[in-house]
Symmetry: C2
Subunit: 387 residues, 2 copies
Amino acid sequence: MRSVSVIGIGETKMGILPDRNVKDLIQEAGAKAIQDAGIEKERIQALYMGNFNSSYWCIQSHMGPLASETLGLGNIPTLRTEGACASGSLAFRQGLMAITSGLYDVVLVGGVEKMTHQATEIVTTGLASAADFETEVNLGATFPSLFAMMANRYFFEYGNIREDMAMVAVQNHENAMLNPNAQMQKRITVEKVYNGFPVADPLTVFDCSLITDGAAFVVLAATEVAEKISKKRIVEVIGTGHAGDVLALAAKKSITTLDATVAAAKEAYQMAGVMPKDIHLAEVHDCFTITQIINTEDLGFFEKGMGGRAVKEGKTARNGLIPINTSGGLKAKGHPIGATGLSQIYEIVTQIRGEAGERQIGRADIGLSHNLGGTAATCVINIFKGR
Amino acid sequence: MRSVSVIGIGETKMGILPDRNVKDLIQEAGAKAIQDAGIEKERIQALYMGNFNSSYWCIQSHMGPLASETLGLGNIPTLRTEGACASGSLAFRQGLMAITSGLYDVVLVGGVEKMTHQATEIVTTGLASAADFETEVNLGATFPSLFAMMANRYFFEYGNIREDMAMVAVQNHENAMLNPNAQMQKRITVEKVYNGFPVADPLTVFDCSLITDGAAFVVLAATEVAEKISKKRIVEVIGTGHAGDVLALAAKKSITTLDATVAAAKEAYQMAGVMPKDIHLAEVHDCFTITQIINTEDLGFFEKGMGGRAVKEGKTARNGLIPINTSGGLKAKGHPIGATGLSQIYEIVTQIRGEAGERQIGRADIGLSHNLGGTAATCVINIFKGR
């Protein structure tokens, strides 16, 4: 397949941003990515936009032309992708495919979400639409309650890892302290996680990712084109995987091993020709602390049942065996849903380029991004390598 | 590029369907398409779902895994595409690209919309989200008012074609009389159009497409695979085009020539190696009667300013020079938004196969589908040829 590389990245500060609307967020992150790529915007042939639910929260669908108009990209083709919290990674994968298919040479991929202006019940209802309305939402289930069930089942199968889950939150907050774009730059303790407002047992508010406004963009180019126009370290997409699962939690074969992650990882590792042990860092979907632990196992970084202990032993810290969520993750950098997958890629590319400043890890040549939608009904994984 | 063909089609009856939810619609149309293709569902490697706004109308996002679970397709990768009324065609184009890129050999593409259960103001607000909230919707603009401005400007530039617009409605209703899946099987007259409830001058309710529940699916396969497994006439996708435009009507260069249609048509014709005169039939986006007329000009079927007269002269009738909307179109077959682009393809394939029964036209080897989003901020065109 034709090789594709990331040549530009841009993102906004993540957070509660009452003064900024969807267009402002797109304008900032999109322009940054184009500038970072060092290209004229006329080179961009298509735009893929990840957005989860501005249709509901902003009465704004049709995000493709909204973004291309905002960025002054002319009448290029645009597309919005949606797969719940994986919407941004799906846009990335469509942009990638558009280049591998030979249709385009340079495309822009973006993601945006604006939700903090809405009342809590509207935010919650909008989020819940990523689950099955008929068999879950309509019966009162929200995402914290669904992931709490996964945590409790995990405790039953592999032992109580409550403390390890709290350590995920502590570690991700620690990383976010060094990320200027992070929403929550605040150190927390295991004690604080335990004493947090209870959301759905065993999850407290400190086990949950944030409600976030933000946008992130990347410029993709065929690698042979990237070599001619890029002035920065070229970051090649060496593997990509996309898999799904049934929507409803109750219909899944297992809720402690996520089939979509396992299948997408297999596809991505095979294409990249690498093994889990070859990955130098990863951004792993941590919508809840339990999610990160389960997924680091399903990605093959740790044995099943050992993902919690790995956190406590420091293996996922910035100086550990496999640094996870050096950005601060969804937990502390923030979870601007449609932008989340692209913000993960922003971090991986930043680290591979050696531009991560105070949070820069040691060896960072091969990185992985892992993005889920819903209770792992959608999973997209990408593997990147600096050239 | 790798050749791709349609090997299966299925759609529901379109209409106001109070007894059927999103899953019911997906189940019927999806199963019909798979059965029509004559394949085991295990052959399907990915699913692309067009849906406009179930997030708002049904509190149901994440339509990809919802559909794959409903159809029992296992943990295949899924994706929802959204580009307003072109959402279904965008899903089709992504499915096409997935096969041309070499990633998959057989994919399912679907579209669905469920909206008639909501109160009129909720339907209208949901629809309006396809326009620019900040500069249009928030100031009171709805789609009928935007297209009415296009009609009035067209009258100013090319002369008053009120009667020709009415004839579009009359002709599309005529065609729908012969389509068992059409929502409105009712003959109307020019007189009736004139006397219809005024919506936005010069448009009456009979100039407007319908509010519709429905679903449509197609099975796509690499043509070399299709040749081995298909028992019906193989319908090859010989050309595809996708272009965009600014979102807001006020920002467009012209509102009587639609840049997105012109650009997408150019791309599709070039790829197919055909001219407008080579097309035997077309489904053309007729969200309003004026839209069909402008687009038949921008597609190159008629000179600029002559699209209205062509309708009156019978050139777009089933026995005319270039039959348009033999299905009944969005106007009379119905406009189940996310499914509309795929329902257009359903009609083209049905005609090319010679399976259109009473509404079958004479020569139907090469057909074109044309699908718009918003006020032509998105356009997708596909050209099909029977083998």
